[in-house]
Amino acid sequence: MKIMNKIILSKKSKDSIVSKKINWNFICVDLMILAIALSIFLFCCSLIPTAISQLSSPGLNSSSGENSLRINISNPSQIIHELVGKYITVNANLHYLKNDNTSTNSTIGGIAYISIVDVKDRVPVDLEDWSAEKGLYIPSISSGQSLPLEWNVRLVKAGSYTISVLFNENNNAFSTPIVSSRIDLEVAPKLNLNPGNVLPVAFGVPAVLIGIFGTLNYLRGKKTGVYK
């Protein structure tokens, strides 16, 4: 009986040891999961400021976090309809906004330029024939100052285009260009003149000249006896 009791006691003690072992394993697993979750959380937290800075970058919302520069293009929501050969004026305003980070005497210089994209052909337009002055050099603009910019653009080819104005800062070579919102432009084809106007002249003048010189030649020939 005693022996049986010992056996039972020894079995109970073994069970308790096993259960203790199992509890420790659960705790270890929990701790590991907690550590992983914590590291993921910390990683996410470290990414948020970067994401925010990316979202507030000048390339996305036309204003620089460091410089507080902004370009406003006139009539951004309007679609311009014009004929080929006509001139349009693109007006924009470059603002250097005052904020807490900028001192009152801080200035920025750079180049403002227009970009025209052919929407139909999906290519940027070579501005050789479109605008005499593609870029405007701005030596300096002070904080709180606003500078009007103007381009005269000649519409060379019919099609659908978007126009935007960009600004590249001089001092910071790695800064993203500041971009304005876009203007939509629809250029309709144009026939300068009715070709029918030119046809009578194009065919008529040589025909009249042939007639005049033919008659003169005949009269002269008749006088000299060539034609009897």
């Binding site: 080929v84 050969g85 026939l191 106007n197 002249v201 040589p206 010189f213 003169l216 002269r220």
Partner: protein, 254 residues
């Protein structure tokens, strides 16, 4: 009263026969082709009307210069080669008058060419205020350059005494004058060298002036005077060379 017998003979040979008048028909056909292409070609018709008129005006000037140069550079040498120059010198006409009448006959060719081009200018400038300016400025520059080129070509014709050489040299002079405006790229024309060439070249001044009048709409004489006076000076210099070399034709040199 100066007897214009040589002028009449020279002019009648240019207009009075089929062979003589062939150049007029050819020139009118060239004008017709250029005007028709400018107005109906898919891409050329997109040009601004001022640009069209400018292109056409350049064609008129170049054609006028070529015709003046070629016609006058063979005027004396052709007589020498044909053996008729001595007979011409025996006539009671002063040597300088012979040269001047030959020059006037060349300028008449230019005037006829210019008159033929007027209907085309009017059609191309339809609907703009450029017609009268285009006609007047093309007439002004064309006449001045035609006088200048004719003068220097007749002097060359007398000095070189062979038509082949004098025509070649005259063509080289016309090419030299027109090269900066017609053949040089815009980037080269903007360099110091290009600027210098454009400033001393009367043909470039004429082209730049027409560009300014027809494309930039700067039509007043006051605005164009910086371009007009170099062409005027060039014409005066060429006339002085002409008068110096054609004052006396020496028969013994033949």
């Amino acid at each position: 009263m100066v007897d214009l017998i040589i002028y009449k003979l020279e002019t009648s040979s240019s207009f009075y026969s089929w062979r003589g008048a062939a150049w007029i028909i050819t020139a009118a056909s060239i004008f017709s082709l250029v005007a028709y292409l400018l107005l109906t070609d898919k891409e050329l018709s997109l040009l601004d009307q001022g640009e069209m008129l400018f292109t056409f005006s350049v064609v008129i000037l170049v054609l006028g210069l070529l015709m003046s140069g070629i016609n006058s550079s063979s005027s004396i040498s052709a007589e020498i080669e044909a053996g008729t120059f001595e007979c011409l010198l025996l006539t009671p006409i002063k040597h300088i008058q012979i040269a001047i009448q030959k020059m006037l006959s060349t300028v008449t060719i230019w005037i006829v060419l210019y008159l033929i081009s007027i209907p085309y200018i009017i059609v191309l400038s339809n609907g703009t205020n450029l017609a009268i300016s285009a006609i007047l400025y093309v007439g002004l520059y064309g006449t001045l350059l035609s006088i200048a080129i004719s003068s220097i070509s007749i002097a060359l014709s007398w000095m070189l005494k062979t038509s082949k050489n004098s025509i070649m040299v005259a063509l080289m002079i016309i090419l030299l004058l027109s090269a900066p405006s017609l053949f040089f790229a815009t980037s080269l024309r903007k360099t110091d060298f290009g600027n210098m060439l454009e400033n001393i070249n009367p043909f470039s001044h004429s082209i730049n002036s027409l560009d300014s009048v027809l494309v930039d709409n700067q039509q007043t004489v006051y605005e164009q005077f910086p371009h007009i006076w170099p062409v005027l000076v060039f014409t005066i210099i060429c006339s002085i060379i002409f008068l110096t070399f054609t004052r006396k034709f020496e028969v013994k040199m033949l």
